[in-house]
Symmetry: C2
Subunit: 346 residues, 2 copies
């Protein structure tokens, strides 16, 4: 460490800064909080002293006095598969860092009767100003209800039922699955299975709708027998795939509602010695890490999860600071990513 930049021996407070700068603490406070009514020259003087003394406002005092914790929470489902959550976490963390906020975590094990109480406790003890709710938590009424009760604003990522009073972040799930399914049809597939996502996730229904619309557009009959209910996890993908592959007339391609389930499909297919994509094409959704780490790597839909989470947290923080949320957020674009798990039907 260069000389002259040692850590200060004792905590430097607003009084120290005021004294060194020859102003009152209020003026320092104004400068620190970027308030008006400070002469430019004074401001610079104070800023200089702050740098010189390495003054950092005491967050606890700030909170106690100003009732602002500069902390938001992330209430998420602590699912088996952490791929989605990891992306959300990174996004939210990024936004917090950029804005000088802290992020506190509240993992949930759904379903759980005491969810409302847990969220209430979390919000109280963690004293968060706002909360980010990645799917599916944004659709859990006990959670959203508790937060509205407590007047804690939140931002929901990919909710099924967007609450107009809150921030909602979406992406084009329906369109993307429509394209993805259309692509399979273009490859010659006529018998395409579908594994639905977790029923509590809003995205599940949207993606499924895209699948159906694609079938319709291409003049293919919708066959309920080719559809299975999954839960966005590896195991349900595996089980559903087993059922579909046991059909007398098994599908030549399977669309899974997300990558983790597609991984399960791949596992089951390979376990049976089926060649993918030779005998079965498999596609997923999300383009999480796992998608490109399987063999064959998955054709999937890239959803900008991290960016969505970053936006959710950013808009939330801006709103907490009274900064007008511009126009309602446009849904994010998704992109079909073609990899080796799918090929033209031969």
């Amino acid at each position: 460490m260069p000389p002259g930049r040692e850590a200060p021996r004792r905590k430097v407070t607003i009084f120290d800064v005021a004294e060194h700068a020859g102003v009152s603490i209020k003026t320092v406070s104004r400068v620190v909080n970027n308030e008006a009514n400070v002469r430019d020259k004074t401001r610079e003087k104070v800023l200089g002293v702050i740098r010189e003394l390495q003054y950092k406002p005491n967050a606890a005092a700030r909170e106690l006095s100003g009732r602002r914790s500069r902390t938001i929470g992330l209430v998420y489902e602590n699912a088996e598969e952490f791929n989605y959550t990891a992306a959300v976490l990174n996004g939210a963390l990024g936004a917090c860092e950029a804005r000088g906020y802290s992020l506190l975590l509240c993992p949930l094990n759904l379903p759980n009767p005491a969810i409302g109480e847990r969220v209430r406790d979390f919000a109280t003890q963690a004293r968060v100003e706002g909360i980010v709710l990645p799917a599916p938590v944004g659709d859990v009424a006990e959670v959203t209800g508790a937060l509205q009760d407590m007047r804690i604003p939140f931002a929901a990522i990919a909710p099924r039922d967007p609450l107009p009073a809150e921030i909602n972040i979406a992406c084009k799930d329906e369109e993307a699955t429509f394209s993805l399914t259309g692509y399979l049809v273009d490859q010659g597939h006529r018998c395409i299975g579908y594994i639905r996502g977790h029923p509590e996730h809003g995205a599940s229904a949207k993606r499924f709708a895209g699948y159906r619309r694609a079938l319709k557009k291409h003049g293919l009959a919708f066959a309920p027998g080719l559809v299975r209910q999954g839960y966005f996890d590896f195991d349900s993908g595996k089980t559903s795939a087993a059922e579909l592959l046991d059909l007398p007339d098994p599908p030549t391609a399977i669309v899974a509602g997300n990558d983790d389930m597609a991984a399960g499909v791949l596992y089951e297919a390979r376990k049976r010695g089926l060649s993918v994509p030779g005998q079965l094409s498999v596609v997923g959704f999300d383009d999480t890490r796992i998608a490109s780490r399987m063999w064959p790597p998955l054709t999937t839909v890239r959803q900008p999860i991290m960016e969505m989470a970053e936006t959710a947290a950013r808009l939330l923080i801006d709103r907490l600071n009274g900064e007008a949320a511009e126009a309602p957020q446009e849904p994010f674009e998704c992109e079909v990513v073609i990899r080796e798990s799918s090929v033209p039907l031969t």
Copy 2:
């Protein structure tokens, strides 16, 4: 919500409790903090009022006054593969919840010249009392140096160089890889490749040592040509596997330093049309989620990552509260998990 349990209209403070209980605030404080010198009867009375009023101490005030934030930090390498970190996160979070602490996150992008400064800022702004350092951060001198400078205690998980003044959590890496390699030899493998882990991780050297010791014990010559340097991520596993498989005399089994690299090996092998385990046995280390989600599922070593992280955080918090850290923590046991990615050599 049952009647009589509505959320209190306004914040209830220590004064409210004191008044209702007919005692002074200091007594309430004593009860809340489990201090001595309170008559049992008084204590119970106060406890009753606290429950009745649903009193929750204000954390900001507590911190401002008592200089204790009841917050610890998790400084981790924000690696591509989040499998290890997810387990650590869950473990640390569990310990924090159990002890009424909050956990703040500080992802690091290594290597990075400004690491020391970043950790310093984090510790200051997040005002953490202590920090958990999962591998490899516990071996980054800029980090540990900064923390020691600031007198912030920490707990390192799986460090190469345990610092005697701090808490260190280890597991039996060497023994486990010794067993794992021995198992492969028992299966008839004589030409066993090895992909080393990230050189900055302490575990890498230990695991490698176990491999060598196993070879020696079974009278197999150690061949440097069968060893590659990886970085604990998928890509380095893939690349290293490609090199090993291109050898004129390629190995019949590959030991990867962790599961993510083993996944890369699997990917590369399958890409080349090699049958696993028919033509190549592959084993990993960690038993993270990905291990059982590949086909074939990985033979690996189960390391109790979550438990180790939970222990690290728990011991750290106890130490912060002056509770004598009992005997130095014993290394955790590991367990070889045999799955379909390895079979007897035919």
